[in-house]
Amino acid sequence: MSELERDRREMAAVLQQPGVRPDPSLRITRRTFVHKSCLVGAATVAETFAWWPLLNTLDVAYAAEAPFKFAWISDTHLYPKSLNTRFVEKTVRAAKEVQAMSPPADFLIFGGDLAQLGKVEELELGVELLKEVNIRKVFIPGEHDWYLDMGKKWGELFGQPHWTFDHKGVRFIGLDTVSRGPDYWTARKMSPEERMGHMATLDGTVAGAWAGVGRDQLDWLQKTLANWDRNRPVVIFSHNPLYEYYPPWNFWVRDWREVNEVLKPYTKVTNIHGHTHQVLYNEIGTMRSIGMLATSWPWPYAPEGVPKLTKPMIRVDPGDHFDGVGWAKIDVSAEDKVDAEYMMWRKQVYAQSPDDYAKSITEVLRPRIADNMWPY
């Protein structure tokens, strides 16, 4: 049995205990938010209702003292304008749309990977583009923001990478899942650029299992939640998923056991994450997780381990830069319902085709070979 297979079995045994599910008050309903673009044709709307509904609507008891909404943008992966304006255009579009929300969102979460190679000019470009949004903005880092200078510039711009605040009856927590990568660079005498290059490669093997929360932050998380009623809602933002999805691409955190241990007593935990650049929905233990879109480009689904409850999006058209990408709007109603809505820019993505998704089922993929070369 491979190491991955052993991990997967252990995770399933630890986290997927019979009968353990998110609190029943967090019922997923069939109520669906219909994207404006879906109103174009009745056929599209019918298709939307056919497959979309399970994904988006959550009921959260005690959630809202008053209705509110917030927005999420992540994974903009900005290059300097001189090299690539495509990702810039999409970030601008997301920022404009968030700013145009009516009524306005209470705050914007930026979910990491603002920059592509962690350069000062890329991070500053991101700040500049997001100035369009003049509501409160809170940031968590992605690995692309961090590993050139180990978070120095990011810290100057955005402060502490993990934080918490309460808003209208919900405790919001931002976690840093990127900064605790094991040091693989010192012994190899890598330059900061080489280190960043390896972290910018999703299917690289040099960095190993880098994503994690870390003991110190877990202690902080425990302390932060200590005074919070166990039956009140908690929304945790992280760059990487807090559950295991596909470890070879770091679609997980390696200290998932400890994270689960801290969160287990809380019955209404929602994790909203970036990094995977795709529609994902998962329930594990008492926590539910929602994977958000990137604005930059969509990743394909991993060859195995896509959470069972995910209704996958169809393969994108690589000729359309606005396909399979976008941002998200999270709406907390006075009836304590939380709708997480994917603001996809190409409406056809709503029309899931089982045949299309089935194309990847027979894929058998191997890890890279070039990582074994020395020097790289």
């Binding site: 480009w297 394909p300 058209d317 830069h321 058998v364 191997r366 070979i369 070039a370």
Partner: protein, 150 residues
């Protein structure tokens, strides 16, 4: 620099290879293929896979050495295709909607170089194309062959 395996083929295996070429295929198969020679063939293949892997991941030095410009946007093939996911080499040749024609994997590689990456198209018989092909096929070895599947 010539790789050790290439040197092996050039110098030590050269007589056998030359003989095979001279006498033609009718008798070539009768020559014993030694384990050493098999290993040599495999290493030639893996060398191409390694080059293709680097090209696929946007390695600037490899691109320069092979005289190709696969991207002008900073993007690389692997950014949308980690471990070559979603390249579907096993489904080619097939009708490819973006190109509106019956296409080979090589056609698709060039389409991606020219459109999403805004790089410069490479020749079908170029070393870079062969290396990219080698990497994609090697990565997906074990995937069921299903030509024509859209």
């Amino acid at each position: 620099m010539t790789a050790p395996i290439t040197r092996f083929i050039l110098f030590r295996a050269a007589p056998a290879v030359a003989l095979a070429v001279m006498v033609g295929p009718a008798t070539a198969h009768k020559d014993p293929v030694t384990p050493q020679l098999l290993k040599a063939y495999q290493e030639v293949f893996m060398e191409q896979v390694r080059k293709g892997d680097l090209l696929f991941h946007g390695d600037a030095k490899t691109e320069e050495a092979m005289g190709v410009v696969l991207s002008k946007t900073g993007m690389a093939c692997a950014m949308c295709h980690p471990m070559t996911a979603d390249t579907h080499p096993a489904t080619f040749p097939k009708f490819q909607a973006q190109m509106a024609k019956f296409a080979t994997l090589r056609d698709m590689i060039n389409w991606c170089i020219e459109k999403p990456n805004q790089g410069e198209k490479i020749a079908d018989d170029s070393e870079a194309m062969k290396a990219l092909e080698a990497y994609i096929y090697w990565s997906q070895s074990g995937t069921v062959l299903n030509p024509g599947k859209f």
